[in-house]
């Protein structure tokens, strides 16, 4: 198996253009990186791309109508839309505190969704 893909390393501002070849489900070859961080980035970004998701959920507070939330760790990209869909249907009762967990261990992926702002009652 071999697909060569060009991706930009974002581990530092230089932004090396990496050529990543997927060798198997677990192995890649990374070229074009100036340092080791680029290799690690190229591997993760090719095999298990993840993103931290941030969004807002509706609350019943009159002052702060939408409360911001985030995943406490980056989430596998393929699950992002599913998570967003759930978040947009929620109605949250205030008060709530920054750091409080909204969704625990989403889909068993070891990722929590937490509030990032305190909303008084």
């Amino acid at each position: 198996m071999s697909d060569k893909n060009e991706i930009i390393c974002i581990s530092c501002p230089i932004g090396c253009r990496l050529q990543v070849t997927k060798l198997s489900e677990e192995a890649v070859k990374v070229e074009g990186n100036r340092c080791n961080r680029g290799e690690a980035y190229g591997r993760e970004e090719t095999l298990r791309p993840k993103r931290t998701v941030t969004a807002c959920v509706r609350t019943n507070s009159r002052k702060i109508a939408y409360a911001p939330v985030k995943t406490d760790k980056p989430l596998l990209k393929e699950y992002i839309n599913e998570l967003l869909k759930i978040l947009y249907t929620l109605d949250i009762e205030v008060p709530l505190r920054r750091g409080e967990i909204l969704i625990h261990n989403f889909k068993g992926l070891d990722v929590d969704v937490v509030f990032t702002r305190t909303v008084p009652g």
Binding site: I7, I8, I10, C12, P13, I14, G15, R51, T52, V53, T54, A55, C56, R58, K63, I64, A65, Y66, P68, K70, K77, I80, L84, Y88, R98, T116, R117, T118
Partner: protein, 420 residues
């Protein structure tokens, strides 16, 4: 009318105002923060994405999280906080200043104070500042306003969006809108390179296959009541090449074409403004051309990283304290001037004192660049920079050792900062 008396009044309760005020409170000054909005926090509250605080807290926080850490700090001080109060005037009274605030519930409030700190942040450039020809339908707004509407009020500005300008706010909004179910048709950038950081290009555009049209302009806006389409035109040797034009059908245009320090109030108070930064000229103590008026944060120069805002504002607070206590180092100040490839350097003067920090912006994009600091004819600092670009602020510290044993005196002596 109530008059309050303070050592220092801070105008604006964003990242800059809070950090500066906390520093002054901890050194024993009597300080008030006056903030126009209902809560402290400033622009951070609408920046729900993460990427804040890596330098200062060694973790990646969202804007509201960063803000709340400071709000909690403020709550544990003896600072007086006046919310929903807009400052409308700063009057010089010889011995200090009289700051006029207006609050919907309290009416006019007067603050007598020895020192004033400008911390009003910045505002966005809008269509008037860039001039796109065509009709004037609704559906055109700045990216920051869209961010506020969607993140704080839950209002989605449109369905099919074109973004003008590749600043970070626009890029972040491209992702936010896509995640909300909108279609972002493209980002149109007049320059040959993006003005936002690479991470945002990757995570906000490439992730969703949103095209980035570099060296392109929006040459026309069509639509009667609401935006219906825009005409996008490539630039050939800096001139629009009409033959390459194509339309994008959209109902909304977000402008992400830069920020300007919010200095109406400063101008009214006769503070001298630097046209390179859009903010005040400040001396080595962050004092503006008006004795006793200081400035820090985005009102001084637009920052991309909030950590630097907090840091700069703490430094500013320290000098305000010295000013009020009459202990400011009274030594000759030398000019700091931008040399080759440097847009500006803040502060605009320096004084011989340990650990002076400077912030600057590059005019060029380059890997393996070199920062050079000259004092008169002498090179006193050479520093390797892995990568420079206009959108990323650069900083350096001037240590005492860097100076020649005796500083020549003379008004033509200047520190020149350049990038090669």
């Amino acid at each position: 009318m109530k008059t309050n008396v303070y050592d220092a009044v801070v105008i604006g309760g964003g990242a800059a105002g809070m950090a500066c005020a906390c520093e002054m409170d901890s050194s024993g000054l009597k300080v008030a923060i006056v903030e126009r909005e209902e809560t402290l926090g400033g622009i951070l509250l609408q920046c729900i994405h993460n990427g804040f605080g890596l330098h200062r807290f060694k973790e990646e926080l969202t804007g509201p999280e960063y803000a709340e850490r400071y709000i909690e700090k403020v709550e544990n001080t003896s600072l007086d906080v006046f919310l929903s109060t807009t400052v409308v005037n700063i009057a010089n009274e010889g011995e200090g200043y009289c700051v006029t605030g207006y609050s919907g519930s309290e009416g006019v409030l007067l603050f007598k104070t020895e020192a004033v700190v400008l911390a009003m942040g910045c505002r966005e450039r809008n269509r008037g500042n860039i001039g796109i020809p065509g009709t004037r339908p609704s559906g055109i707004l700045t990216a920051g306003l869209a961010q506020r509407l969607i993140n704080m009020d839950g209002l989605v500005p449109g369905r099919r969006i074109v973004i003008a300008g590749s600043g970070d706010i626009g890029l972040i909004m491209a992702r936010r809108l896509t995640w909300t179910g909108c279609e972002v048709l493209g980002v149109v950038e007049i320059l040959p390179y993006a003005s936002g950081i690479t991470r945002n290009i990757v995570q906000c555009l490439k992730d969703f296959d949103i095209p980035l049209y570099l060296s392109h302009i929006i040459s026309r806006i069509e639509g009667k009541d609401r935006v219906e389409s825009v005409q996008v035109t490539p630039l050939q040797d800096g001139k629009p090449d009409i033959s390459g034009s194509f339309p994008l059908e959209c109902d909304t245009i977000l402008l992400s074409v830069g920020l300007i320090p919010e200095n109406e109030l400063s101008r009214k108070a006769s503070v001298k403004i630097n046209h390179e930064t859009g903010g005040a000229y400040v001396d080595a103590h962050y004092m503006t051309s008006q004795k006793g008026i200081f400035a820090c944060g985005n009102v001084l120069h637009v920052h991309d990283i909030v950590d630097f805002v907090s840091e700069e504002s703490v430094t500013c607070g320290r000098y305000v304290h010295q000013y009020v206590k009459h202990s400011l180092l009274d030594a000759a100040q030398y000019n700091v001037t931008p040399g080759a490839n440097v847009k500006y350097v803040i502060p605009n003067s320096f004084i011989r004192e340990a650990g002076r920090k400077f912030y600057l912006r590059s005019l060029i994009v380059k890997n393996d660049a070199e920062l050079k600091v000259m004092l008169g004819e002498q090179t006193i600092i050479k520093k390797k920079l892995r990568h420079v670009q206009p959108s990323e602020m650069i900083s350096f510290v001037l240590d005492n050792e860097a100076f020649p044993a005796s500083l020549p005196i003379g008004d033509r002596m200047a520190l020149e900062v350049s990038i090669h």
